[in-house]
Structure formats: C-alpha cells, structure tokens
C-alpha cells in the first residue's frame, strides 16, 4: 500500500527530469555557459525530491508487517530547538553572548526530548475496504476497448494535426 505514494514522488521527479532535459537542449544549443547556473539549480531541486522519494522507499513498511502507531507525548524539545535557532541567528547579528543562551536552550531541548519518548502501539482502528472507484460497472474488457478506441482517436487526431502543420508550411513556401 505504501509503494504508490513513493511512485508518485519518483514519477513526479521523472517528469521534472524530462523538463530539465528540455532545458538542457535549449541551453546547450542556443545560449551561453551562464545558463549552467539554471541547470544546476534545477538539478539540485530535483535531486532533493528524488532523495525524498528514495528515502521513503527505504523507509516503507515490508509487506505483511502491521502498521504501528507512534505518538510523542509532548513537544517541549521542539520549542527549545526553535528558540536555540532563533538565538543563534540573533547572536550572529547582534551579540555573540546570545549564542550562550542558545546553547542553554539546546541543552534544555536535549533534556526534555528524553522525557518525550514516543508511545508505540497499533493504529486506532482497522477499517473495512471497498472496490476501486475507477471503472465501476464496467468490465475489464470494456475498459480495454475504451482505452484502445481513445488511443486510436488520439493517434488519428495527432497525425491529422501534424499533416495540417506540414501542409501549411508547404503552402507558405
């Protein structure tokens, strides 16, 4: 059940990779080396999404293992980490002394995190499931025929459009 979620992330990354490839064609054929920055920025963002998907793929639950319900009992540590980050930033701008207060907040975060052990147990309720929503009332064969007809219609339309463009170009010449 977890695989489709990961596939959405990786599929979306693949779509972006395609767009990046088109940009690559544009920049290498037409423009200057300064466009390399654009390619690097896009590739960097894309790699983050891929990493998220791959990390998700590694973290997914093996088949047959029941889901576990994790729940932390508090989030004081989060407030302390947030305060530590804020104080560190202020220290960089105003006074290094504030960094000490940030360190204190960080220490408090560590202490409080120990008291926020996650409660682990089964998820609240199993629920009944139903059939897939798509194609209700239609047999697999009917769906296949519909797909074939749609595909053929699209192919005819695309061929006619290409032919029309060619004809127009010829007439312009």
């Amino acid at each position: 059940m977890n695989r489709p979620g990961v596939l959405v992330v990786l599929g979306w990354s693949a779509f972006n990779a395609l767009l990046l490839a088109v940009l690559l064609v544009y920049t290498t054929l037409v423009y200057h080396l300064e466009d390399l920055i654009a390619l690097m920025v896009y590739a960097g963002g894309l790699s983050l999404i891929v990493a998220f998907g791959v990390f998700g793929r590694g973290g997914r639950r093996p088949e047959g293992v029941p889901p576990r319900h994790h729940r932390a009992t508090g989030s004081t540590s989060a407030a302390m980490v947030g305060a530590a980050a804020f104080l560190a930033g202020l220290a960089a701008i105003f006074s290094r002394l504030l960094a000490l207060a940030g360190l204190v907040a960080l220490a408090l975060a560590l202490v409080s995190a120990r008291g926020e052990k996650a409660v682990v147990g089964p998820p609240p309720r199993p629920v009944p499931t139903g059939p897939e929503p798509s194609g209700r009332g239609r047999s697999r064969r009917t769906r296949r025929v519909i797909r074939l007809v749609t595909g053929a219609a699209l192919a005819v339309a695309a061929t006619r459009a290409i032919a029309a463009v060619r004809e127009r170009r010829r007439s312009r010449r």
């Binding site: 977890n2 779509f15 972006n16 998700g56 139903g130």
Partner: protein, 547 residues
C-alpha cells in the same frame, strides 16, 4: 438530511478536554490539529497586521504628491507587506490547512513526526518575530522588497540590521515550512488508512501532495539564496560580479515561482471540496484533475526564468514555452470545477459563494500570468503596476477567496461552531466589490506606465483618479475584514453546538466529531470506496431505502 456517517455520535469527553486544556498543553502539543490551528491562527493575526500596512500604502498613493509616508518609510512598508504576506501569511495558512485536514481525510490518527512539525511552527513564529521586529530597530526594517535582489541587499546599499533580521526571519520561517510540508507529504505516503489507496485520496489531499512536492524540491533553494545574500553582506566586494547577482536571481525565483502555487493549490483543493459538497455530487473529472495538479506542479518548477526575461541572460523561449504550457493543466482543473457545478443541486451558502467567486477572479490572475509569461508583453509591463494587479488577482482575488471558502467550510469542523451566515454574506459582498475595485484599476495604471514601488507621483502623470478608486476599494476590503472579525468574535462566544457534518460533506473528516478528538477517529471509519466515501455511503443508503 442528516449524514449517515458513523462518527456522528463521537465527541471528546470532558476528562480528555480537561487534560488537554491550557496554554502549556497547546504549546507542547503533538496533535496535528492543534499545531495547524497555531500556524493558521498566527498567520491570520499577521494577515491583519499586513493589511494595515497595505492600507498605509493605499492612503499614501490615494493622491498625487502625498507626503504621509517618506520614501524610505514607504520602502519598508511595501517590503514587509510583501514579505509578510508571502513568507508569513499565505504560505503558512495554506500549509496549516493541509496539516489539519490531510490526516483526517486519509483516515490517519496523527501526522508523521509531530515534534518536527511543531518545530516547524516554532521556527515560523520566531521567524515572524525576527522579520517584524525590524520595525523596532533604529535603522528601520528591511527596505529592499520581498525579492531583496543583490547587490541592492548587500551591506553597501542596505546597511543596518533591518536586512539582517529580515534574512533571519525568512530563513527560519522557510525551514519551518519545509518541515511542515515534508511531514504532511510523508503522512500521505505512509499513514493512509487501510483501503485509502492513492486514487481514493480527496482532491484537497492531492492538491496538498502537489504543494508539498514543490516545497521539498524548491524551498531549499531560497535557503541557498539567503546564504549567498549573507556572503554579499559580509564581503560585498567579493560577491559583486554579475554571476553572483544572476545566480541569486535563479536561486530566488526557483523558490519564488513555485511558492505562488504553494499559496494557491491548497485553496484550489478547498474550492474543489466546497463545490462538490454544495453541488451535492462528486468532483467532476477526478483523475484528469489529479494528473493536471501534478503536471501543473511539475511545470511550475520549470518556469522560474520568466521572471528574468529582461535580464537577457535566460533562455526566454524555454521559460515562455513552459509558462504557456501551464494553460493545459489549469484548463483541465477549471473544466473539473465548472463540470462539478453544471447540473448539480447548488446550495448557495457562504463557502459556496467564495468558491464561485474564486473561479472567474483567479482566471483574471491566471490569464494575465500567461500574458507576462510571454517575453514581448513582459518587456512592456515589467516593473509596472500591471504586475502588481496580476499577482494580487492571483493571491488576493484568487487564493484568499479560496482561503475564505475553506475557512467558512471547515470552521465548524475545527471549532464546533458555525460562522454566522449573514455576516458571512456581507463579508463576501464587500470583499468582492473591494477586491475588484482595488486591483482592476492597477492594470490600467501599469499599462499607462505607473511604475511599482514608488511612494508618490505627479499630478501631471494622470494616475490620480485610478489610484483614488483603488484606495477606496482598499477601504472597502478593510470593512469586509472588520465584518469577518466581528463574525469570528460573535461565533466564538457561542457554545460549540455544530453537528459532526453540518454540510453533508463528502470526505472522511466529516465522519468524526466537530471538533475531532485527539486521535481523530474513535469509531471505525465508513467503507472507503472512493474519493467521496461519505457521499457514496449516503447514496448506497438511499438506494437501499428505495429497494
């Protein structure tokens, strides 16, 4: 007709309520609903502050040669208004909606990594304090616009700590948003209830998935851009070459274009849910809409260069092509929205009115976006009020109408109280008039050459009448917001008496009590047979009654 959902009878017990009450319980919570309320509530408070800044600007521009604000004060006001609305209001509110609703819509009891999500809130809050705290500094707040281009934002041209605290504020709040977005995306990937397949996710959840994919991919580039800006402030002579400035713009816009969609997609999802519920039918064209949302989000990652056409250093053809290609998924989404209401049994409650107004108003923002995504038009209107009109139609006339549609729709779920319908309608009417009166004249102002970010103009420029109309519109918008605040106050003083499902909702959040208990569902969920399980349930019950 009452809902047949089994969660109707569930309510939070008095003991539970007592154990989770109090400020400390709220500030150390791990409940995704409370974290979302904290984020959304903070964003709403900052929204009113940013609205006051907007009114100051409109007062300044209402007449020619007005000296209400000095030039440097005006620069600070428009910088913090723009930065605040984007970094601290619309983005956080959009994410807060997803954080609250997605676990409920997918039948999960919690969000993944709730402490990380709460850290996201704290970073956002401290970021907001840092950014707005700039006004308290002797040197004043940041005044380089929300884009803070280099070298304008380096320490030579922008000395003082105002820009530094702005950087800190933007950095912290952006990291916070990344944490919240990533945990919600992880929740959809791994914490769906059994039976909740990806093709049974509600449209709102899909919109949130697309949003969070953009956050994970695009938001970190802003952090790198800010790092570059810090380098520019620490060693301005070293980071002065053109490649740094163009590099900053690439990094910034790689974040800043997708963020527009981050501020828009959740509200499209909200509008989709509202239209479906108040048309009494499932959302039309579910699968094409899902594909178009993902394609829209994917394309949005590739269009950032259209903000840099006039630099002459980007592949204009490519960015123009991808920008215009956005019309295809956008058209599909519009087709889905219109298809849902055509032939439906429409119920015109306040959320539906906001959702219906969203459709044409956002269209104006979207179509003018395609115009400025075309280099020849962009060269003409660049840096003018035409752009101000365009993005305000996208964000204010579009996103905010979606926001209010969602707010009126889910308010009873969140608080257990229904907002007053008549005050809601007055709010709606004033906001429609005010929004269009404020932003429509800006198209003409831009077309006639009024540059953005100027604190005054001359009588001979001929901008006076349209600016006055725009400022009157802003005053009407302010009145609309006062009505909304009055509605909030009146409603929150009443006891929580809203039923679990006051609207005949279609998705799982309406199958639990209003407000939901800490673990979201205390009774088994209804069968998840599609993306509108409660509607399926009602229809099955109706057909069984007939047979």
């Amino acid at each position: 007709m009452a809902s047949a959902a089994p969660g109707d009878s569930v309510s939070t017990t008095t003991e539970e309520a007592a154990a989770t009450a109090g400020a400390r319980a709220w500030l150390t919570t791990t409940d995704h609903k409370r974290i979302a309320i904290l984020v959304g509530g903070t964003a709403l408070v900052i929204f009113f502050a940013m609205g006051i800044l907007a009114l100051l600007m409109r007062y300044q521009l209402a007449w020619a040669r007005n000296h209400f604000l000095a030039a440097h004060e005006y620069n600070e006001v428009f910088t913090i208004h723009g930065s605040g609305m984007i970094y601290l209001v619309v983005t956080p509110f959009a994410l807060a909606m997803g954080l609250y609703l997605v676990p409920l819509q997918i039948g999960a009891s919690t969000v993944a990594a709730p402490r990380l999500t709460m850290l996201g809130y704290w970073l956002y809050l401290f970021g907001a304090i840092a950014m707005l705290g700039g006004f308290a500094l002797a040197t004043g707040a940041a005044d380089t616009g929300w884009t803070a281009y280099m070298p304008l934002s380096n320490s030579v041209y922008s000395p003082g700590s105002g820009q530094d605290v702005w950087i800190l504020g933007v950095f912290l709040s952006t990291v916070g948003m990344i944490f919240i977005g990533a945990t919600v995306l992880w929740t959809v990937m791994f914490l769906r209830a059994p039976g909740m397949t990806m093709l049974r996710l509600p449209v709102f959840t899909w919109a949130t998935v697309a949003t969070n994919l953009m956050i994970v991919g695009a938001f970190p580039s802003l952090l790198v851009a800010l790092g570059l800006m810090i380098a520019g402030r620490m060693a301005p002579s070293a980071v002065i070459h053109n490649v740094w400035n163009i590099g900053y713009q690439h990094l910034f816009w790689f974040y800043a274009h997708p963020v527009v969609y981050v501020m828009f997609f959740p509200f499209v999802g909200a509008v989709a849910e509202v239209l479906s519920t108040f048309s009494r039918r499932p959302f039309f064209g579910y699968k094409p809409t899902v594909v178009s949302l993902l394609a829209f989000a994917g394309l949005s990652m590739s269009v950032w260069g259209h903000h840099m056409f006039t630099t002459g250093q980007v592949a204009n053809d490519y960015y123009s092509l991808t920008s215009i290609a956005l019309l295809i998924p956008a058209g599909l989404e519009y087709f889905g929205m219109v298809g849902t209401i055509v032939g439906g049994s429409l119920v015109f409650r306040a959320p539906m009115l906001f959702a219906l107004a969203f459709i044409p108003q956002f269209l104006i923002g979207g179509l003018t976006g395609i115009m400025v995504g075309t280099p020849v038009v962009d060269y003409h209107v660049r840096g003018s009020y035409f752009l101000v009109a365009h993005f305000h139609y996208t964000l204010m006339a579009g996103s905010f109408f979606g926001l209010f549609a969602g707010l009126y729709f889910w308010f009873p779920k969140v608080t257990g109280r229904l907002l007053n319908e008549w005050l809601g309608r007055i709010h709606f009417a004033l906001l429609v008039v005010g929004t269009n009166l404020t932003f429509l004249p800006m198209f003409w102002l831009g077309q006639h050459g009024m540059p953005r970010r100027v604190n005054t103009y001359d009588r001979s420029d001929g901008f006076g009448a349209l600016n006055l109309v725009s400022s009157v519109g802003a005053a009407i918008m302010a009145a609309a917001m006062l009505v909304f605040v009055a509605n909030l106050v009146v409603t929150l003083r009443r006891p929580a008496a809203a039923p679990a499902d006051p609207w005949q909702g279609t998705t799982l959040e309406w199958a639990t009590s209003s407000p939901p208990p800490p673990v979201n569902f205390t009774e088994p969920l209804p069968p998840i047979t599609g993306y509108a399980p409660l509607l399926d349930l009602r229809r099955r019950a109706a057909s069984e009654r007939v047979t």
